[in-house]
């Protein structure tokens, strides 16, 4: 086992996932402490241009498994390719984004490699013996704990999106190591038939730097347009409370909270959301929270950095207008 940190950099359709780049930053910090190097892995088809983009990110080596059979994500093929890269690199630590792909792959890779695994980590460091230790949020954000790893096994962790910034760049180009795709006929037991965009190509809440969420007090689907307008001027994503999703005002894919998504944007607007525990579970890790609500006693104001007590139907369009004016001025 080397002291290197291997980072799986996720891509889809020739686009690198922001969380994959952020994991390189986490990897660089850890490699500074282990005394090893950061090495990265790309899996897919036509990866040359993406490897160029990773040059200067701090990685010493870029492992590439580039094959037409890997054009679409297939968990069996990607597990096989990733395990091949990691066995070649022989790192102490493996990182990836806690994305839908990362959540799918990490447990399978950990079983294959006989390693330890912690998912969706919000802090990563080393203990006194130089072994990985991470912090996670548990019980719907009502507690945190540390996960310690077994020093004799490979240490695998997925990193919560937006926990680290993307690498600044400016480093040296990475050495490239191309590995063959060792796909097996049994991998065709599953086939990706189609990727259906939802929400008209709008941003997903887990990837957005700014999220504007609405609650049941929007009263219907149509009224959500004032939420969408604010999100649009901020280049952000639309989110919703469970109550709003259960009432059918927004699809479940936009639900923020316990049975929805956990989000950590730079800025989170909670509009007409009272702040039930299950909603706070999904958004209390946001860097800045703005709450707009008629009820001054609403629990959302306890976690908000900025609060406006007022009718969201008046305040939200006023905020949208003020941003437009500020941008124009």
């Amino acid at each position: 086992m080397t002291k290197d940190v291997f980072v799986f950099v996720e891509q889809r359709d020739g686009t690198i996932l922001p969380g994959g780049l952020q994991a390189i930053t986490a990897g660089s910090e850890l490699a500074g402490k282990t005394g090893g190097r950061v090495v990265v892995g790309l899996v897919g088809q036509d990866l040359g241009a993406l490897a160029d983009k990773l040059d200067g990110s701090g990685a010493a080596v870029t492992y590439l498994t580039d094959d037409g059979a890997l054009a679409d994500y297939n968990v069996l093929k990607y597990t096989r390719a990733l395990v091949g890269q990691i066995e070649k690199a022989d790192p102490q630590i493996v990182l990836m984004a806690s994305s839908s792909m990362g959540r799918d792959l990490a447990p399978r890779v950990a079983i294959r490699l006989g390693g330890g695994l912690a998912t969706d980590c919000v802090e990563l460091g080393l203990d006194d013996a130089g072994t990985l230790v991470v912090k996670r949020s548990i019980y719907a954000g009502k507690a945190t704990n540390n996960v310690h790893f077994n020093a004799s096994k490979i240490q695998i962790a997925s990193v919560r999106p937006n926990t680290y910034a993307a690498p600044e760049g400016g480093g040296s180009p990475a050495e490239r190591v191309e590995l063959p795709c060792a796909a097996d006929a049994s991998d065709d037991r599953q086939v990706t038939k189609e990727i259906a965009r939802t929400g008209g190509g709008e941003k997903d809440v887990t990837e957005a730097a700014i999220i504007v969420s609405g609650g049941r007090s929007l009263k219907n689907e149509d009224n959500f347009k004032i939420i969408a307008e604010l999100a649009a001027v901020l280049d952000g994503a639309v989110g919703a409370s469970r109550a709003a999703c259960d009432a059918g005002y927004q699809p479940h894919s936009r639900q923020v909270g316990l049975t929805g998504k956990t989000v950590t944007p730079q800025l989170y607007f909670a509009c007409g959301i009272s702040g039930a525990i299950q909603h706070l579970a999904g958004m209390r890790g946001s860097r800045r929270i703005v709450a707009i609500n008629t009820d001054v006693e609403a629990p959302i104001f306890k976690v908000a950095d900025y609060g406006i007590v007022g009718d969201l139907f008046e305040v939200v369009p006023a905020v949208t207008e003020a941003i437009k004016q500020a941008k124009a001025g």
Binding site: R136, G141, A196, H252, T259, R288, I308, I323
Partner: protein, 266 residues
Amino acid sequence: MKVLALVKNVPDSTATIKVSDDGSGIETKGVKMVMSAFCEFSLEAALQFKEKNPGASAEITALTVGPAADVSVLRMAYAMGVDKVTHLCDDLFKDIDELSTARVIAAGIKDAGFDLIFAGKVGIDYDSGQLGPALAQCLDWPHVGAVTAIEWGADFKSATVRRRIEGAEEVVEIQLPCLLTIEKGLCEPRYPSLPGLMKAKKKPVDTMDAAALGFSAGDLSREAAGTYVSEFSPPPPRPPGRMIDGEPVEAAKELVRILREEEKAI
């Protein structure tokens, strides 16, 4: 067809979570334990598979891993309508990590001949989501995670499922045997009836302990595991917020000024 649904007891989502004084875990005394929300979705998906596809002649088994007290989640599964339950029951299973749990389940169902396994996308306690994919890997089965729709193929030899990813849905064709982890939105879990709950108390529970599954105390020890958890603490408090007063238009302008000039957030 033999269908398995994995279920797990977790503290009720509305329960107050208190970290123990020494930070070694959370206080469980007096905390109401219920079936994890995503396990309810998964169990419901299994029950609907049986009810909507009589041609599959499905038999549904619910399985949990944990100490004796966790039998309550299996009674709930009976009350919701499963045919059989299995409890992989041992105090040694109490604090094992999810990858070890996957290995224990794989050993427990090795000879049971299941065709299809439903699991929740995550447990709402540790919010970790390792178990389903890890079990599929232990069994060398394909799996699809975070499933929001299922269409069964001819003779139930395959399925076309939709899975939620960032800003899109993947449509995946998968051959059985396979494991599916269930996302919210696929189905609404049913409430068990009172007579169902009463009857569930008397139904048989198939039980296997660690030794019967071929695991020693050493195999399941902290030293042998890939990870262990410690240093539990309450979430870091957020600093007190600032209320912005005034008429909507004025308050909105002030908010935008702060977010631009002080926070540089927009």
